[in-house]
Subunit: 483 residues, 2 copies
């Protein structure tokens, strides 16, 4: 008997698979007798024990009958046992795409059309926003806390709402640094802000419901709203944040997503007047507001402003916090401060979706916050970011001063450079030319629903040392002059 083994895993498992395929494919007929073990062993150059083990497995699974070692017969196993060629594995490339649910079709389309992440990752100078900051002190503190938590954290299913010790630390942190008074029962631990948006869309939106986004905005949040089939309305942003007079007043808006501390990506800080108008609009229209405070911690000319949530007297604001920016993205931890009317629903959704976040990383994070290592890291990060931002801006002025207008508000981990002379097509040329010279540039246009009047660049500076930022701006200036 001829059988080709597939080479994966132990020999007996390969032989078992090979015999099964021969039986299912009809190459060995029902009721026929299998070769004696020593015959097959000789034919295939295997040890007799290997063949015995395979026969025993086939018997245990019901493929053969009789006593292994004396005489085994192939079982009759129904309609599937027909002489048809069996593919070794289903075809991979060009596999037909299966039809999906309405939501599934939208998700697959969003995946197909995604902006490739980290596209310039191999370049010498990569100004991508959201790259993690390097901090060796933090890395070693984190390693220590993880090892400690691995020895002490519970192994049972976690609390779906999140570890109480971590929720307490977050409340302390919010009261001290973000002006928010919250109790641990208002806080839900989630797998990053992305999951927070997902749960909100799931719980608050039916297909066709209206959602207001700032324009420009973070694409991740827009994609989730698109996946839920919502009607998306963009609202203009100026130097005081979202333009509240442009908020829709006709019909019902279910949800509005804002970044008051540091508008993403334009960089504006929402003024107090706009904050009050937004809250009044939400209260009167029955709309929920998501405050995405992705980098509200980093403010360089003054103390961080209190969060919008601290002004929320009507319980309309869901506050989203993430540790991706202040620690590192691969951690996948964030949290929501919930208004009372939504608490049960969000905890229930987290419980239903994935039963809660991993226990060890939550315990390690709670300890990092309790020990003070978290705030030490924040202070060090703010200091380093402030210096890098100053370097970037000085170098940008020096090398491209006449060509750019800077959108900046002394905050965050990026600045926007609006290109005052170039047209949109020329900006694409600029990105391509910079790439050839080892500089990764990111246009701002993908962050808009409605294309901006002029091109701009999103310059992320968090993880680049001063010399790299200066070199990057020099190249940017040279590329600009060539166009």
């Amino acid at each position: 008997m001829y059988l080709e083994l597939d080479g994966q895993g132990p020999r007996y498992a390969q032989l078992t698979r090979g015999l099964k395929q021969a039986i299912l494919g009809g190459r060995i007929n029902a009721h026929s007798r299998l070769p004696a073990t020593r015959v097959l062993a000789r034919d295939l150059d295997l040890s007799r024990n290997t063949v015995l083990a395979a026969y025993e497995q086939l018997a245990a699974e019901g493929f053969i009958e009789g006593r292994v070692g004396s005489g085994c017969y192939v079982a009759a196993i129904g309609a599937m046992q027909a002489p048809q060629p069996v593919a070794k594995a289903p075809a991979r490339s060009g596999a037909a795409r299966a039809p999906l649910s309405r939501r599934g079709e939208r998700i697959r389309e969003l995946w197909d059309r995604r902006i490739p992440g980290r596209e310039h990752i191999g370049l010498r100078y990569n100004l991508q926003y959201g790259m993690p900051m390097t901090n060796p002190q933090l890395a070693s503190a984190w390693r220590r806390e993880l090892a400690h938590a691995a020895a002490h954290a519970q192994t049972d299913y976690p609390d779906p709402q999140g570890l109480l010790a971590l929720r307490r630390q977050i409340c302390d942190y919010l009261a001290r640094r973000r002006g928010i008074l919250a109790a641990p029962e208002d806080v839900l631990i989630v797998s990053g802000a992305q999951q927070a948006f997902t749960l909100a869309a799931e719980l608050l939106l039916d297909e066709g419901d209206r959602v207001v986004l700032e324009d420009p905005h973070y694409q991740g949040e827009r994609q989730i709203m698109q996946a839920s089939g919502a009607e998306i309305v963009g609202c203009r942003v100026d130097e005081n944040g979202i333009v509240t007079t442009d908020l829709p007043t006709q019909g019902r808006t279910k949800l509005a997503l804002v970044t008051p501390s540091h508008q993403f990506p334009s960089g504006a800080v929402m003024s107090l007047a706009r904050r009050m108008e937004l809250l009044a609009w939400a209260a009167s229209s029955g709309c929920w507001i998501i405050e995405d405070d992705y980098d509200g911690e980093f403010r360089y000319d003054a103390r961080p402003l209190a969060a919008l949530k601290s002004l929320d007297r009507d319980g309309r604001v869901l506050y989203f916090g993430t540790f991706s920016k202040v620690l590192f993205p691969s951690l996948r931890l964030g949290y929501i401060v919930l208004p009372p009317g939504l608490r049960d629903a969000f905890i229930g959704a987290k419980w239903l979706t994935d039963r809660g976040c991993p226990a060890i990383e939550q315990a390690a994070l709670a300890k990092l916050m309790a020990d003070g290592a978290f705030e030490r890291h924040l202070r060090a990060a703010a200091k380093s970011l402030k210096a890098r931002r100053a370097t970037l801006l000085a170098a940008l002025r020096k090398h491209a001063g006449g060509e750019v207008e800077v959108g900046d508000s002394s905050a965050g981990m990026h600045v926007v450079a609006w290109l005052t002379r170039l047209k949109l097509a020329q900006a694409r040329q600029l990105v391509a030319r910079a790439k050839e010279r080892g500089l990764g540039l990111y246009p701002i246009s993908p962050y808009f629903l409605k294309a901006p009047a002029r091109p701009g660049l999103l310059l992320g500076f968090a993880d680049l040392p001063a010399a790299d930022l200066q070199a990057a701006m020099r190249i940017l200036g040279e590329c600009l002059r060539e166009i």
Copy 2:
């Protein structure tokens, strides 16, 4: 001026909040002058620096105007500044529940009606299914791998599909132990089986679509199908697994959920004939099959049977694996082996939902598998489970032999004891009486869509030593005789 501080966080932050509330509540009017810093410091018994810091914060946030230290005036901040009492924090208990999306309302209802987890957790003998196994060797290996991974794993956003090294290890494992030939690009790492069910429901089901569940079944999977608004059809299970002649043939079924290795919770192993019939039915009706292989690893009388997925020639089977049972539940890692036609959609959904699983735990798990520590743990766990199962069954026969019929198939981490004499109401009495004596018992009825004809108990034995299992069965026998 009188102000009550809330006692949370540093004094300046408390004072800032108190002044904001006074301004927003209209107790301090727009355009009025704030007290001089030394006056307020004296009035409230605070240091002048504390008051200065609060005033600076208020100025930075736009609540007051003028120069701190000489004369500050309250800003006019629009319609919200009205004399109305401000609650210190929104009411917590009895907060009105906000209306939600259709899906949201279903989720909140499922959360309200959930079976409380771990209800007998304080009892001396707790036979709850799914409690993690204690293995000190595993715990120390895991601590070591986590600390190592924390020093070496990437900090950037993870691969949404999951760490390649981990997907490779899973493929090796599946080929060796579950008879499945898969490539790393077929595997998606998820946050436990619960998230796998969530993604499947999202991608494959529209409201009203039909789903087939085994009856009885795991409630977690049913709840997810209910949340998606699917029409749920239960299908009978006998000693050979799902009764394929009862599968619906009229109309379209989108999805069928099965546990072929060890039916949960009845304990049956699906026969080869039933497997082939199920696959033929799925192929002809265009239905997807989810194989939930939650404890297929643990088989005591023979080698584990190959998974249903190993017979899937038409690409209709989604194989779900979890590390909650073989390692520990608070890890929150599992995986899906996807048919080619669904690969993009599932990776896209994971990416959209939460950007991927935490990197460090994936790297640690990949290393645990590569080092062989994972398989050593599996062998140790299987040995310990086999001994505990034998102890449980012997003690059950001895103390309650005449009262129970055992549903068991030499596999898994639980057995079912059907109560041959008691009525359903008497079984509730039994559970209450056992609880008084320190024994946690779990009826099987919540796992059924259609109430079973006779009562039964789900006896989880994974984490109880032999002496405890014997004591537990003795108490069970005594309680039975008292009813």
